[in-house]
């Protein structure tokens, strides 16, 4: 029974992680850049939901309507003013600039909200729903459903819409895409907008699931990076699979390993996957 409960919790966490990572995956595929500010941007979105709740009285389950476009705009701006000017230089330079951005966000959050733990309640706070006999926080369940829907939508868009075809075309061959009349920088800007905009959708939801601290960003960046690499950073289906693996390994690790050694399992998984799947490695070397 304990195992079963762990699996349910792990699946819920895994799907949520997959949606958090999906934005990073889109950005990586289209522009070859790993967004090291991803987690911090999510923290920003979560605190934005906190403010909307506190000053506007709007429930986080609704505030994403405002937060998502805001994050989308920020994502576009990050690409336009930070990534694009230096992306042809050393690939670590972009990494470093994005880490710098995550410092800035973290510092801003510290200045504005202080170092205290915060959480954002919503209408479902405190309620528990039974999934196949296992108690799951209602907010988590909602985030799970939204994540599934979001991932499904993204997967379909990537596969069957013109936008998805453009994205895959520039990911495959920038010059040929340009010659097919696709404005490559235009699409890249859109992808950053969507990739970061997704955080504006999940952030407010997760603000009711995870505790908010200004320095939480880096941890989520690394977690998303683990999911991205385990999944190979290409399709939504693979990202979901990898999110499930990471979510399950963390939940079950915490359940069965003594102390907090369970936190180790996602990284052990990452190390194993990196060494067992040279194809992923080879692709990442070839990146611009």
């Amino acid at each position: 029974m304990l195992l079963f409960a762990g699996i349910i919790q792990g699946v819920v966490l895994g799907v949520i992680l997959a949606l958090v990572t999906s934005g990073m995956v889109l950005v990586y595929r289209a522009t070859g850049v790993i967004n090291f500010a991803h987690g911090s941007l999510m923290a920003l979105a979560m605190y934005a939901a906190y403010d909307v709740r506190r000053y506007g009285g709007v429930d986080p389950l609704l505030s994403w309507v405002a937060v998502a476009p805001l994050m989308g705009f920020i994502g576009w701006g990050v690409f336009r003013w930070i990534v694009r000017p230096i992306r042809d230089r050393h690939h670590l330079l972009v990494v470093q600039a994005l880490l710098g951005l995550s410092f800035v966000i973290e510092a801003f959050l510290l200045m504005r909200y202080g170092a205290d733990l915060r959480s954002v309640g919503n209408v479902f706070s405190g309620r528990v729903i039974r999934l196949m006999g296992v108690g799951v926080e209602m907010t988590r369940a909602v985030a799970f459903v939204v994540s599934l829907a979001g991932l499904g939508g993204l997967g379909l868009a990537l596969k069957h819409s013109d936008w998805g075809r453009r994205l895959r075309a520039i990911a495959a061959d920038e010059m040929a895409a340009e010659l097919a009349g696709i404005s490559v920088t235009g699409v890249e800007g859109q992808v950053w907008c969507v990739g970061v905009g997704i955080l504006g959708l999940v952030g407010p939801l997760l603000a009711g699931v995870f505790k908010l601290t200004p320095d939480m960003g880096l941890r989520y960046t690394i977690l998303a990076l683990v999911v991205l690499i385990v999944g190979g950073g290409r399709t939504m289906a693979a990202t979901v699979a990898s999110g499930l693996l990471v979510g399950l390994s963390e939940t079950l690790g915490l359940l069965y390993l003594p102390g907090s050694y369970g936190g180790l399992t996602p990284y052990a998984l990452l190390a194993v996957v990196l060494m067992a799947r040279p194809a992923v490695a080879a692709r990442m070397v070839r990146q611009r």
Binding site: Q96, M111, L264, L274, M275, P278
Partner: protein, 330 residues
């Protein structure tokens, strides 16, 4: 060129002497700057020279600090021997990671992520493992009597001199690798692994030796910092902060050059401390905000690094000496 070297030497001497005149606070800053400069230089030996990128230098820094701290606290072994032991252990760990990376063909950015995974595992393990103090860390009783032998000093000047010695060692290693035939092997692997292999250079050997060297040097820095603080703790030593900082310093100064990491650290680290002194006390976070903006600004303004940009200009003036040397040594 001669004149430039003269001025550079003068600047280095001035930078080493100035902290003594500036008082305790700046001596502490200078100590940290020297440790970071050494670690940045060590990171650059692997990343800049051989293209073996690591995001997990916290692993080595932590191994160095914890090995010497444990050996001293538990067995009373001299910090210097602990430093050597830590360096040996971290060197072995580096070589092992280098071997794994080559064996399983994990290259480029994924190798960096692999090192990050190892560092995170180590961080979480040490934070949980009780014999190593778990997340509480270990306090070190000050070795007696103070002096060079016990790596304990009453004034910050002593620590600064030890850190300068460490930095000099790192620079000597970096310079030696850069100038020696080994340096050409490193660059060959960095530029094109397959072609290097075809020429008889073993990427495995290059990655392993580079990771061993960078690991051992970084660990030595960790030991010195540990005995300076007299306290080791998982997040400070195994955490990602050290790595993020040294990569930044090396990138801004100029990756792949012998002096770039030192120049980058000498400019950025004191700037960060100054910001903290001026703003940090009044508005928590403001200093990090300014510092982060500075990081972004540096990346946008010096995309090839300070020393990198200047070095290229000098090299262009001096002609193609390096290319001819490469052929004889290859």
């Amino acid at each position: 060129m001669k004149k430039a070297e003269f001025w550079a030497a003068g600047l280095v001497v001035a930078a080493c002497l100035a902290p003594f005149a500036a008082g305790r606070y700046w001596l502490d800053v200078a100590f940290m700057a020297a440790v970071y400069a050494g670690v940045a230089s060590a990171w650059n030996v692997a990343a800049g020279f051989s293209g073996t990128f690591s995001f997990g230098h916290g692993l080595f820094f932590g191994i160095g600090a914890y090995t010497s701290a444990m050996l001293f606290s538990a067995l009373g072994i001299s910090p210097w021997i602990g430093l050597a032991a830590g360096a040996a252990l971290a060197g072995a760990a580096g070589a092992a990671i280098g071997w794994l990376g080559t064996r399983y063909r994990v290259g480029g950015l994924s190798f960096a992520v692999l090192t990050l995974a190892f560092a995170e595992v180590a961080l979480l393990f040490v934070s949980t493992f009780d014999p190593l103090g778990a997340s509480r860390g270990i306090s070190i009783a000050p070795p007696q009597p103070p002096g060079l032998l016990s790596m304990q000093f009453e004034s910050a000047a002593g620590f600064f001199l030890v850190a300068l010695g460490f930095l000099a060692l790192c620079q000597a290693v970096a310079w030696a690798i850069d100038a020696a035939p080994l340096g050409y092997r490193y660059r060959a692997v960095r530029e094109n692994e397959t072609a290097a292999q075809a020429m008889g250079v073993s990427p495995a050997l290059v990655r392993m030796s580079a990771m061993a060297a960078t690991g051992a040097l970084t660990a030595a820095g960790g030991s010195i910092y540990g005995f300076y603080l007299l306290f080791v703790e998982p997040r400070t030593f195994f955490g990602p902060d050290v790595t993020i900082k040294v990569i930044l310093f090396a990138l801004v100064g100029g990756i792949g050059t012998v002096w770039g990491p030192v120049v980058g650290t000498a400019l950025l680290y004191p700037a960060g401390e100054w910001l903290r002194a001026v703003f940090g006390g009044r508005v928590p976070g403001l200093d990090i905000l300014v510092y982060g903006s500075l990081v972004i600004g540096c990346c946008l303004a010096f995309p090839t690094g300070i020393v990198g940009g200047v070095g290229r200009r000098l090299a262009a003036r001096a002609g193609r000496g390096g290319g001819a040397g490469g052929r004889t040594a290859g």
